[in-house]
Symmetry: C2
Subunit: 884 residues, 2 copies
């Protein structure tokens, strides 16, 4: 018999914080809080295993689940001194989801469960507040009908509005107990009429509530959220059933959300919001504007002032939890008639700035050591710190302000729906998503946009929480703006009108909304960030190089602390200015002589480029990849362009058209490209080798330390590499003889075809380094062209075939197996006499970096902006998996 | 110190027949013949290692080679009682190539080496024949100038012709000793004038002769021959240096080529040709028409009559060698003044008919056991027996006859050069190559043509030998025809003119040339062939299935003894008749409803097809692959066709054009195809499952034994397969419920992506069989699109990157490693509960089959015509590598 139910309450618990996989994050922490003496309403957790069982068995619960749930309820009854479904002193329950990792707002919750026509009377008696009891009951019926019965909730809303209208009320709070009793009857009638009758039996309510949470694991929005966050669909969610406590049972009641440090700045202060006489969802929903925890200079009444004893107790809990979890905590609490209950604690989401500050300060405070501090910062999040902020010297027209919900600068064109944001971005536009408020349905649009503006909602509103998680700038709850979805406009109090497509900028750190397209400046990389990066550098094993070929990128990469260039793509250099004409002449030439003529024109340009690059990278290795793409990528395909080219290179249009069409390939990815070009046209390889080595000699003469590495792409066998290497070495020998001077250079092989990985031991014999091209390796191993399968991959991720996008994060079981094989074969052949690294886009992805570290790779190479991220990820990997 | 030289002579030898890799085939057999007491002129072999050393060291011979060669010459001198470079009794040498496998006519030979202005006098004295001595000398200078000095041979030919003209001679034989002396002087002058002076020093002649043989390993024709025959370029050739014996030193001299059985029919008779007073090359070159070995009914003088003692000795040697080598021998001999010398023996090339007959008869004779007999037939060669012969009932107009040089029927359009043959075939035409005679330069054209006709040359002429090796029908030496290359015509004695492009047929078994395009009939599969195949069936382990979907192919496959269908491609069924319109309607439909409508129209057609297929395959498994190619392959791309389709399916042209363009993919090989289609459009999978299983139920009702297997293409992960399998199983359950009847079926996965091979253990969990799609697996593993890289692959094979075409014969080190991995993982997961086989084109390639047998595969599937070949290859593999 499996154990599906784990109880907790009154200082005891069957689980601990370590049981996140089984009990979900929320459930595991509820158990843990009990164990360390924090007041938590008693309850029990239905395991994620039960949810997995549910889906594996055609949506059927385990046979023995019901009995175990009844056991759990009995346990709660004993502690709380109430009885579920009792007419005298009824126990009411909350039913909440809780997956391994937090998926805020994505799944269902049912509160006040256990109320029916009889228990409501008892609640009225017990609370001595009939209005409270019937308000709770009508809320419960609405929530249950919506979430569990999947009824059309508008019918209920409509009935509620009708009563208010009839009575001339403005707010829900004006409804009397009698109004609410009447409404409850109406609600029950509506349910019956539409065939979704509200069940009076509390046990039926409970069972269906639990099942509803299981079902919510598979809603479209939950699936989308998981896809965006690479969360596997087969984990399932746990269900937490807990005794209800009421923050809305009078003015000695309250509810709140708080953080043990400021999640935006990282400052060590008690940060949070609360509302008197409210239920938890009211704070998060952003309908009433919440009040601050600690006393400040504003006129708002803080919790510290309103409920000093509770505040003091909360402060102690804050300290206790932070010390216990060694991390900043995000907590939910409810005060019921003056008694404090903790409903949740978890490691708090935070901005990148906050993450870095908290990590560094916790080391200063002696709470963490450097290794732990490094592990506490999400590498991916650093991205946020590295990107530009608004240029402080530029004049800006602030047209409105709001809450500084998520810091950073964003500039984009106004759109007013998530769908529009996605559509505009697909067309290559940058967008600013402007919404009254956001809901989980907007996730895809938020992800697509540069930044987010909302008119409603606090610092813990959906928009704010999600934006911070994504590292997207956000200004929330701006009272200065009016948004009209019909005309797609945003109007400010001062009369400025922003139409769809107009440029808008925001400073998410200040809460400013600015008209127009603002210039931006680079990030500061000193202070806490600098300190953290020092630790990172001392701990990481992997060398971090940059993928860069332009001087701008190379300089940026050095600024971010790169340790060399891991991939300079030479073909990019052929597109600039007039070079493309020479390149095209070369491609369309009749014979080798024609090609050599055109190549001679390209040589000085490419040599100049390399000189510049080598100067910037003084003292560091620079890996230059020989020409890779199929030649048809360089030639024009439109008739007009072909005619123009023909006249430029002195050929007929027909000649050009015929040659271009001869270059056409069915599957260019698998065609005449990479080293196949160098083998067919060795003169290209000669020219490139000459440009690289002549540049290197020139720099050496100027006292610059050059470490050129020549990389051969798309190698599939040792023999192929040998043929190209022979051309490189012969050209080098010739240059050295001409100049009477030489320089050391290395020759390496890309490993980007399955065959190369499988025969890496042989290939290693002929080269001094490997550059893993994991983009192409992924395309060939999966048989998926990145250009053609974006839609299929989306569908595949939705259906759980792949968890993460295999082009963003390396497919460990498949492609990873080949990478591992290649590293092992390479080492077996040459030990550490061969240098190995990754230069695909995976080189900048933290999860992939962790894997590459484990394989025994020597370096990763990534785009300049991802270098600090890669370094942090490398350090984290080194801490988690120390190399011998 | 390496040993580069192996001597032989006078019953002793340093090597044996087992040293083929080191000494080449010729050298190893020369050694062996010595050891078994057969008269062979003494000599020595320079090893293939020396040749490999030569190429690995920038064309330099090993430092100690010269000394070892001198040692070898001393050895020969001692045995032959003559001295190299001696003015009194000079030893003359022949220098011949000899690779591991025979490459007839591809490499260089130098005869009469050692002659100079002084030794020629000695030769004249010793032979008492001045004319013979100077004829030998002038031949030597010509050959040396041509082969070693690379001089323009036309200059020498011209000088020779000039002398004949001046003197009014018609034949070379009319030249007197004085004429020849004069010619020798002229030849030396010519050499000096063009800077290619003939060296007088015999030692220099020898060294340069050996090096010339090394160099001939890399001539263009040799490289081409190796590419066509999958011979690795790094083997190198050995060089055989032997004492000269002269078949042209008088009328008591002769030279000949003979076979221990008839190489055309396999009949156990002494077959061969000889010429009195001739050198070996004269027989092969086909300039003089040679005479038969054994006495027959013709008027020609046989060797048996001309030299009865020699003939008797030869008959004894024939028997001795055949028993010793347990195979039919191809021998060369020379008679010098009545003394018989054997110059070469090797296993003889033979026609497929001969191979089968010899194998079967040698078992009857007790010379071979069944296993050995099976190994003696080349699997690839059987192809020849399986293809049609001319229909004997059709009237035929024989316009000329020639020698029955290589049996079988061929029908093609007349071309008159090898280049034309290649060019016409590239355009999709079948050709008949018509030449005066062929030379090694014509190989590519002979390979491309259906058959070969020559006007000159005997049964052992170049055309005849090569055609038999290739299994191509050939009529050689037809005296009835006149060929004019300029007008591209062939004229017969009876006045028929065949112009380029006219249809010509030949019966290579009868030597007939027939006007027009003759009908052909299938081969007889009984007699010796049937007997051999019985042994094959009893020895092989692999099950042999057919790739077939049409009734015609399926019937053919059963006739050839297939054991089931391993691959029926369902998409081929969508092109017939009106179905393509329904298919296109399905593809262009707006939504699922539209697709289902069109699919419903396709269902009955596909069901009928399967009923027919299942009936033919009664009692055998039939693997049906679900739709595989990308959808754009089914839609029209030309505007006119799109307009026509639009009107047929009631849509606008713009709609059709837009939808077709939306289907375009950058790399369709890696795009939306295979099981990705079934996942995106499960209704297609439902329809196909329904067609298969409804057909199966219908057949079952009729008492037919149906074993349907449904195969899912392009699987990359277990989860993908699970998604498709769920649709198949649900559809099956529904059909069985509808019909109240069920049938067993299997679901399997193609393994055709590297990822599938790497994760085959997981995939095995969800299926009952694997079908290895080695075509796609090769494309993805090598990163080579078959459509786009034919030219590159040619170049790669020429340059030794690949030995064989990896799409024809499996790339064992690369793709093979993945196949092996997948088989092992599959077995680890499921042992023999999973059935595994190959259904790519490699399934019919003997070398690949040997590899698949070794991996532990259960079956291979190939095109119907290759089934007997596959069976024989499977039996050979089983004999060579018995499974435990």
């Amino acid at each position: 018999m499996s154990k599906w139910v784990y109880t907790f309450g009154n200082g005891a618990a069957e689980g601990t914080a370590k049981d996140k996989n089984l009990l979900g994050g929320k459930g595991a922490n509820l158990a843990e809080m009990n164990l360390i003496g924090i007041p938590v309403p008693a309850g029990f957790t239905v395991t994620t295993d039960a949810c997995v069982h549910y889906y594996a068995n055609n949506k059927t619960n385990p046979a023995d689940l019901d009995a175990q749930v009844r056991g759990g309820v009995e346990y709660v009854e004993k502690i709380m001194g109430k009885k579920f479904a009792d007419r005298e002193n009824p126990l009411l329950l909350s039913v909440r989801s809780g997956a391994r990792v937090s998926m805020p707002g994505m799944m269902n919750t049912v509160l006040n469960l256990g109320l029916n026509d009889e228990t409501v009377l008892a609640l009225a008696r017990a609370s001595n507040d009939e209005r409270f009891a019937y308000d709770s009951y009508r809320r419960f019926i609405m929530m249950f009908s919506d979430v569990v019965l999947d009824a059309d909730i508008d019918l209920f809303e409509h009935a509620l509005e009708k009563v208010k209208e009839d009575k001339g009320y403005k707010f829900d709070t004006e409804l009397t107990a009698e109004d609410l009793k009447h409404l409850v009857e109406q609600f029950k009638e509506i349910g019956k009429k539409i065939g979704k009758e509200f069940p009076q039996d509390p046990w039926e309510q409970l069972n269906r509530g639990i099942t509803a949470v299981f079902n919510s694991w598979m809603t479209k929005k939950a699936v989308t959220y998981r896809r965006l966050n690479n969360i596997p669909g087969d984990w399932g969610t746990a269900v937490n059933v807990q005794a209800m406590v009421f923050g809305n049972a009078g003015d000695d009641c309250a509810t709140g959300v708080c953080f043990s440090r400021d999640p935006a700045t990282g400052e060590n202060m008690f940060y949070g919001e609360y509302l008197i006489n409210a239920q938890g969802e009211d704070v998060v929903a952003g309908i009433r504007t919440p009040l601050p925890m600690a006393k400040d200079n504003s006129s708002q009444t803080s919790l510290e002032e309103a409920m000093p004893t509770v505040y003091k107790e909360l402060c102690e809990i804050r300290e206790k939890l932070e010390k216990h979890y060694k991390d900043m905590q995000d907590m939910e609490f409810t005060v019921e008639h003056g008694k404090l209950w903790m409903l949740q604690t978890r490691n708090g989401k935070r901005t990148a700035t906050a993450a870095v500050r908290i990590a560094v300060e916790m080391v200063d405070e002696g709470l963490l050591n450097k290794e732990e501090a490094i592990l506490s910062v999400k590498a991916e999040q650093l991205d946020h710190l590295l990107h530009p902020t608004l240029d402080p010297k530029a004049t800006k027209k602030v047209i409105a302000t709001g809450l500084p919900a998520s810091p950073g600068a964003a500039v984009g064109r106004a759109v007013f729906s998530a769908d529009d944001a996605v559509a505009w971005v697909a067309k290559g536009e940058k967008t600013m998503l402007i919404r009254v408020e956001t809901s989980p349905e907007d996730i895809a649009g938020m992800d697509a946009a540069q930044g987010i503006i909302t008119a409603r909602g606090g610092m813990t509103s959906h928009a704010a929480v999600v934006a911070r998680g994504m590292g997207k700038p956000c200004v929330s709850g701006s009272a200065d703006i009016r948004i009209d979805y019909t005309s797609k406009t945003m109007k400010t109090m001062s009369g400025t009108v922003i139409n769809e497509g107009d440029w808008v900028s925001i400073d998410g750190g200040k809460g400013e909304i600015i008209e127009g397209q603002m210039p931006t400046v680079s990030a500061e990389l000193t202070g806490n960030f600098g300190k953290l990066m020092e630790w990172v550098d001392s701990l990481k094993v992997l060398e971090i190089r940059a993928n860069a070929e332009t001087p701008r990128d190379a300089k940026q990469a050095r600024e971010f602390g790169c340790e060399g260039i891991g991939l300079a793509r030479t073909e990019h250099m052929f597109f600039e200015g007039t070079r493309i004409t020479d390149m095209r002449e070369m491609i369309l030439a009749d014979d080798e002589t024609g090609r050599r003529g055109a190549l001679n024109k390209l040589l000085p340009h490419q040599r100049t480029d390399f000189i510049e690059l080598f100067k910037i990278m003084d003292g560091m290795p620079v890996t230059v990849r020989l020409i890779d793409p199929p030649l048809h990528e360089f030639v024009p395909h439109a008739e007009a362009d072909q005619r123009e080219l023909a006249s430029k290179i002195g050929k007929t249009y027909e000649f050009v058209a015929q040659r271009v069409s001869a270059l056409h390939e069915q599957n260019p990815m698998l065609g005449h490209r990479g080293c196949r070009l160098c083998i067919t046209y060795p003169e290209i390889c000669e020219m490139q080798t000459r440009a690289i080595l002549e540049a290197a000699l020139e720099c050496k003469k100027q006292g610059i330390k050059v470490m050129p590495e020549i990389e051969v792409p798309l190698v599939g066998s040792k023999k192929e590499l040998d043929l190209v290497k022979a051309v490189i070495d012969a050209t080098a020998a010739q240059i050295f003889a001409e100049k009477g001077e030489s320089i050391e250079y290395k020759v390496g092989s890309m490993i980007e075809l399955p065959r190369a990985a499988l025969l890496a031991d042989e290939i290693a014999q002929s080269c001094e380094f490997f550059g893993f091209g994991t983009n192409d390796l992924t395309q060939t191993t999966l048989g998926m062209s990145r250009d053609d399968t974006a839609q299929i991959l989306d569908e595949y991720r939705t259906r759980g075939v792949y968890v993460a996008d295999p082009f963003a994060s390396i497919d460990v079981p498949g492609v990873g197996k080949l990478v591992e094989t290649a590293v092992q074969l390479g080492r077996k052949a040459k030990g550490h006499d061969i240098h190995m690294g990754v230069c695909g886009e995976h080189g900048g992805d933290p999860q992939s970096i962790e894997f590459f570290h484990q394989t025994g790779m020597d370096f990763v190479s990534c785009s300049p902006f991802r270098i600090p991220i890669a370094k942090l990820a490398a350090a984290q990997a080194a801490v988690k998996y120390p190399r011998k």
